[in-house]
C-alpha cells in the first residue's frame, strides 16, 4: 500500500472531490498561485484552474461569509484558513450564519461548507496563531468538528466532510502535515463520528484526538515496556458527532481513563468526555477520569517552554501512571 503524508492525503481527498462534484471549490489565502502556505493545495491550480482553486484576499470574515452564502445556493466550498486561529476573525460568519442558518430557516436552507486549516501549537508562532478551538466549535449545535490524527483518516474524513450537508470544521495540524502512513489509492470514506481504537489494551484507556494520539501511542509503548501496562488508545477522530459508545466500551473494559488533548483545560473536549463517562459509566471506574491538556495559559512563544506547555510523551506517560496509582 502506498505511504503518503497527511498533506498529500488532504490534497488527494480534495482533488478527488473536485473531480467528482462540479460544485466543489477550494478557496483561501495563497491556495492557488502560491501553491498553499503549507503546500496542501500544491499543483491544484495548474490541474483544476482558477475557477476551482481560488486565491482570496486576507479577509476572513468576508470570504468565509461569502463561502457560507455560496453554500446556501448549492456550492460545496472548502475554505482554507491559513491558520485555523484566524477563525476568530470570521466568528460571526461561522457561528451566527453557518451554524444557525438551517435552524433559523426552519430547515429550508442547508450549508454544506467545510472550513479547514491547521489548529495547533508547537511551532513557536505565539498565542495568536496557536488556537485549538475544537471545543469552541463543537459547542455550537449545527456545526460538526473533525480532528484527524493521521494521513489515512485525513483523507477519508475530508472526503466525508465535503459530501456532508452540514457545516464541518476540519482541524488539521502543521506538525502532522509531513507525517506519513499507509493510505490506499482511490476511493474510501471514513465516516464522521466513528472513533478508532488505535491500540487495544486492558489496563487504561487513553482517549484523545489530533496529534495527541500520536504522542499517546508512544506513551503506551513506554508504559508497556517499563511497567507491562497495556494501555488502550482511542482516537475520537470526530468531536461532533461523537462516538460515545466506543468511549464507554473502552472505559468499561479498562476502568480507567486519561483524556489527552492539546486544548486548554477549561470546557475542553476532555471535560465533556469526563462528564459523559461520569454519567454513563461511573460504576465501572476505579479512578477519577484524568485529563492532560496544555498548561492553562495563552500559547507561550519561547520554544523550549512551548514544548513543556503542550502534551508530550513524557507528560502522558506520567499522567497515565498517576491514573493507575
Amino acid at each position: 500500500m502506498p505511504v503518503i503524508t497527511y498533506r498529500e492525503a488532504l490534497r488527494a481527498a480534495m482533488s478527488e472531490e473536485i473531480e467528482r462534484d462540479p460544485n466543489v471549490v477550494l478557496m483561501g489565502e495563497e491556495v492557488a498561485q502560491f501553491n498553499g502556505a503549507y503546500k496542501i493545495s500544491e499543483g491544484m491550480l495548474a490541474k483544476y484552474g482558477p475557477k476551482r482553486i481560488v486565491d482570496t484576499p486576507i479577509s476572513e470574515a468576508g470570504f468565509i461569509g461569502m463561502g457560507v452564502g455560496a453554500a446556501m445556493l448549492g456550492l460545496r466550498p472548502v475554505m482554507e484558513l491559513m491558520f485555523f486561529s484566524f477563525y476568530s476573525v470570521a466568528f460571526d460568519q461561522i457561528f451566527n450564519n453557518a451554524a444557525n442558518i438551517r435552524y433559523m430557516s426552519g430547515g429550508l436552507i442547508n450549508c454544506p461548507i467545510v472550513i479547514r486549516g491547521p489548529a495547533n501549537g508547537g511551532t513557536n508562532v505565539g498565542a495568536t496563531h496557536s488556537h485549538t478551538p475544537e471545543s469552541i466549535a463543537a459547542y455550537h449545535p449545527g456545526i460538526k468538528v473533525v480532528v484527524p490524527s493521521n494521513a489515512y483518516d485525513a483523507k477519508g474524513l475530508m472526503k466525508s466532510a465535503i459530501r456532508d450537508n452540514d457545516p464541518v470544521m476540519f482541524l488539521e495540524n502543521t506538525i502532522l502535515y509531513g507525517e506519513a502512513c499507509e493510505v490506499p489509492d482511490g476511493e474510501y470514506l471514513v465516516p464522521l463520528g466513528k472513533a478508532s481504537v488505535m491500540r487495544a489494551g486492558t489496563d487504561i484507556s487513553i482517549i484523545g484526538h489530533g496529534r495527541s494520539i500520536q504522542l499517546a501511542l508512544k506513551a503506551a509503548d513506554l508504559l508497556k515496556e517499563k511497567h507491562n501496562i497495556n494501555a488502550e488508545v482511542v482516537d475520537l477522530r470526530s468531536i461532533r458527532p461523537l462516538d460515545v459508545d466506543t468511549i464507554l466500551n473502552s472505559v468499561k473494559k479498562t476502568s480507567r481513563c486519561l483524556y489527552v488533548e492539546e486544548s486548554k483545560p477549561f470546557c475542553s473536549v476532555g471535560a465533556m468526555v469526563a462528564c459523559l463517562i461520569s454519567d454513563q459509566a461511573f460504576d465501572y471506574l476505579d479512578a477519577p477520569v484524568k485529563r492532560l491538556t496544555s498548561i492553562d495559559a495563552p500559547a507561550i512563544y519561547s520554544p523550549p517552554l512551548e514544548k513543556l506547555q503542550l502534551p508530550s510523551v513524557e507528560r502522558i506517560y506520567q499522567a497515565a501512571l498517576d491514573t493507575l496509582k
Binding site: S59, G62, G65, N96, N165, P241
Partner: protein, 389 residues
Amino acid sequence: MFADLSLNNGTLAPHYYFNLKAFPVTKKPSSSKKPEVTNLGYDARQAPINIKLGQDEKIALYRDMVRIRRFEERCLRSYQQGKIGGFLHLYIGQESIAVGCTSVMGKDDHIITAYRDHGHALAVGMGMNEMMAENYGKVTGCSKGKGGSMHYFDPSRNFWGGHGIVGGQIPLGTGLAYALKYKGLKGACMAFMGDGSVNQGAVHESYNLAALWSLPVIFIIENNGYSMGTSQERSSAGPSLAQRAEGYGMNWAIIEDGHDVLAVRDQVGQALKLAHDKSLPSVLEIRTYRYRGHSVADPDTTYRDKAEIEAYKSTKDPLSVFQLSLLAEQTLTTELIQKIDESARAEAETSAQFAEASPYPSLEDIKKDVYWEIDNPADRKSVGALFFD
C-alpha cells in the same frame, strides 16, 4: 444614466445621482429636506422600465405597499398585546424600496436583507399567515417558529433572510452572487442593509470581494437616517455612504427619491442590468425614513422629534405619493383605494387569527432543523452522537 458610467475607474456620474452638494450632512436627516439641487427634468414615470408598466402592474405595486403597511400595523397591535416576543422592527415608511427593488427581479435574481425584513418578505410573495405565525412563535410560521420576526426565509422565492446581526448578511449576499456567477446564471443578488451597517468590517470586506471578482451583487443601503438611535452624522464619516464604493472602484449612486417606488425601480433596474450584462457590482444608497423606533420597544424621542417624522409623512409618504400619482393618471380610483385598503386590513387580520389559532412547536421540535443528517436519517452517513444532554 447608470449605463453611461465609466465603469470601475472612479469616474463620477451625472449630477442627479452624485452631486454631493445636493446631499449635505445636516443635523436633520437630509431625507426630510428638499435637496438644494433637484432632479431637474427627471421623471421616474418616464423611465423605460416604468413606461412599459401596465395599469394592473402599477396597482400591484401600490397594493403591495399597502399590504406591507397594514400587515405591520397589525403586527404592532399584536406586539402591544404581548402576542409577539423579542423585537419588532417595522418597515413603515420604507415600503417603496422593498416593493420597487423586488419588482424588477428576474427568475435568477436573489435578495437577502437584515432584520427589518417584513417588507421584503411580502414583496417577494411570502404569505401574511406564515409571517404572522412566525412572529407569534407558532409551528405554522415560515421558520416553524424558530427564527422570529428578524429571521424570515423563503429560498423558493429567492429570499435568503432575514438576518439579525448588523451587516452580517452582506458576505452571504456576496456569496449568493458568487454562486450565481459560478453556475453561469444570468442573475444577481440584491444585498440590503441599513445605514448602520456601513461601518461594519464585513461590509467592506464584501465590497472588496465583489469589486475584485466582478460579482453580480447590488449592495443596497436603505438609509433611513438613523442607525438605531444614532444619526448618520454621528456614526458615519465621509460625505455619503454610497461614495465609499469609490475606494473599491465600484459603481455607486444615491437615490434621493427613495419614497418614490418608480424612482427606485428605475435606478435599481439599471444596476441590475449592469450586474446581468457585465457582472458588475454596485452600491446604491436609497434615502428613506422610518416612522417607528428602531424596534418598537425602543424609545423614539431621544434622537429626533415628532415634527421631523410628521414633516416626512406629510410630503414623502411612499403610499400617499404613489396613490396621488395613480389617482391623477386615473389608474386608481377612490373606490379601488378603499377596496385595496380593506382587503389588506382583512388579510392582516386573518393572519393574526391564523397565528393565534396555530399551535406552538413541540418540545421535540427544538432539536429538529439543526442538522440536515438528523432530519434525513435514511441518508445519514455519519455515526455517533450529534446532540448531548
